[in-house]
Amino acid sequence: MIIDEEQKRQHLRRSKRIVVGAVVFLAAIIIAVPVLAQMLKTYVFLRFPMDYFMIAHGAVFAVMALVFWFISAKERADSEINTITPL
């Protein structure tokens, strides 16, 4: 299937939104996790102090979740446009 210019521009805009959203979320993980960890230090989860758990597990799980979301969002965007373009 050949895509026209308007479809291509829509796809590029959508891709850019996905990328910007992902970068913002990644920045939020890096900044928010230490801040939240200090606020939640009195709580306990799976016998871990909550601040420790957020740093040593939570940040990594958040990054994994972000990566899996990003891959599926990009696959959906690509499949909707079926990106095969003419030279």
């Binding site: 990328v19 993980i29 230490p34 799980f61 990054v63 003419p86």
Partner: protein
Amino acid sequence: MSLNTNYPVVNPRLGASFAIFTSAFISLVLMLMILEQLGLARATIGQLIIVMPVLFYMAIGVFVRTISVEDFFISGQRVPALYNGLSLSANCTGGVVVLAFTGAFLFGGVDLFAIGIGVCAGLALMLILFAGAMRKTGAYTLPGFFALRFNSRLVRLAAAVFVIPPALLLFAAELKLGAAVAAFFVPLPQTTLAMIGAAAIVATIALGGMRSLTWSQCGQVIVLLFGLAIPIIAVSVMLTNLPLPQFTYGQVLRDVAQLEISKSLLQGASGPQGLSDALQASDYQAFTRPIARIFGTLSPVDFTLLILCVMIGTAVLPTQMARLSTTPNVPAVRKSLGWAVLFTGVLVITLPAFAVFVKYYVASGLSGQSVSELPFWSRMAQSMNLIRVTGDALAPAAGEGVVLLKRDVAMLLLPLAAELPYVFFGVVATAAIAAVLAAAGGQILSIANVMSNDIYHALLSRGATPSRRLFVARLSIVLAATAGLVLAMDSPHNPVTLALWAISLTGATFFPALLISIWSARASTIAVLSGMAAGFCATAAYIVMTEGGEPTWFGIDNLIAGIIGAPVAAAVTIVLSILSPRASEEAREFIEEIRLSGSETIHARSLRLAARGKIPKP
């Protein structure tokens, strides 16, 4: 009219091959366990468990040798996502993460987990910002990408030159760590062991290049994951009755925190310290820092800056960039980074469990004990120089000893402290050596690819035959390994210092340049060239100045000098881009093209059109 893009056929027997490899490794471990019970000498067991897997890797590398340029440089572009993910994970972890990060966590506490977060976030950032575009260009190397983007030999040459020093630093760091581990099993000086390690790496990758590296790295990661999983699960079951150590060591962590207070292990701690103080000591040292206290070792600013520095360096590691072109297509490269984040994340959350268990055994079994009442495993560890216990062993009533451990090999203590069979000690060591070999091989091959593709073929001899290109690449592997070996033997700095300097140089030089090249059509040749030079020189100058005694700027340690260099590079690149003429139509089309996942790669199209005489050969 639709394009016919031919995707390479993936080998359908890969799963079976690696299942056989995994079975062979597990069989080796079981056989050695049986032989240990039957009385085989420990020295022999140790040497077999270390040497046999290295021979496996070399056999894999030789078996998949090739004379095809596509196979040698980009593994034929037919590596499935799962296996590419294993290799990506191996490239960015290595001995530095497995050994030195675990040791840093053991002595510095949870604050040093910033390194693990940085590595995972770096892989994520690579996926989000660069992976699709890099794969779409089809470039063999990072300098190759810049050449396609700007159609400039000067940018290509500059990028190629800037790739080499950080790769050598990382190779030297890995060799030092590998030699330190191997010295417990093979009675040779560490210098000789480093030479043997370098020779083994060269032998593994010289004949097959990226193809050899890919499949040997997959084997090495399998050994790494199994080698760490077996002892840590055994210890987890012994201490917590549950086999998931990553989630069940919470109670042990709390016990360690109580032991730190009851055994007065925190007497030296007085609030956060500098990053260099937290990371630079690699000789025998005692526990002084709390393991579970947030910001007990690093300030919040240092913690965040460490994450950022490691993140931007990991996101643009040249050895990772080269690997992005080994998958069949863009969706496969995204999935491979997904797998890489998964494997790296699991590894990174497992290593603190190692550290906590080691500290538990040392704090509960050794600290505060009379020297005459130390358990048997500690005497064995002392005889192997894994630990030192101060105090007068000749006068048992002289009082308590203080336990000193070496940061970079501390994780090897766990199987001994848990009184597991000796073969488990060898299994942990062989897992660490697998990580070292995997990462070191990636660094050397990235240098060789750059030398052959970007300097020799693109700049000096554009008409070189494939066999000549392969010869230059193989020669470069040998030369780069020799240079890295000399650096490893001569450098007085510890491996973590070398690795963080390398990450800083890479991040500061390439992150702003790559980001602006991919996401802005306005980026010009002179802007990117100046930005890379500014980033590299600013970072290198900061490291040299502060090592020479100059005060730091804004309290930023020279281990994260990339935090100084990256903004300099970004500022130079942006200002010069704004001052440059408006982006050409060609640049705009290039930027749009690399953001579309389908169709053939730009490199493949350039070759196809050049073959028809429509454009000059790229």
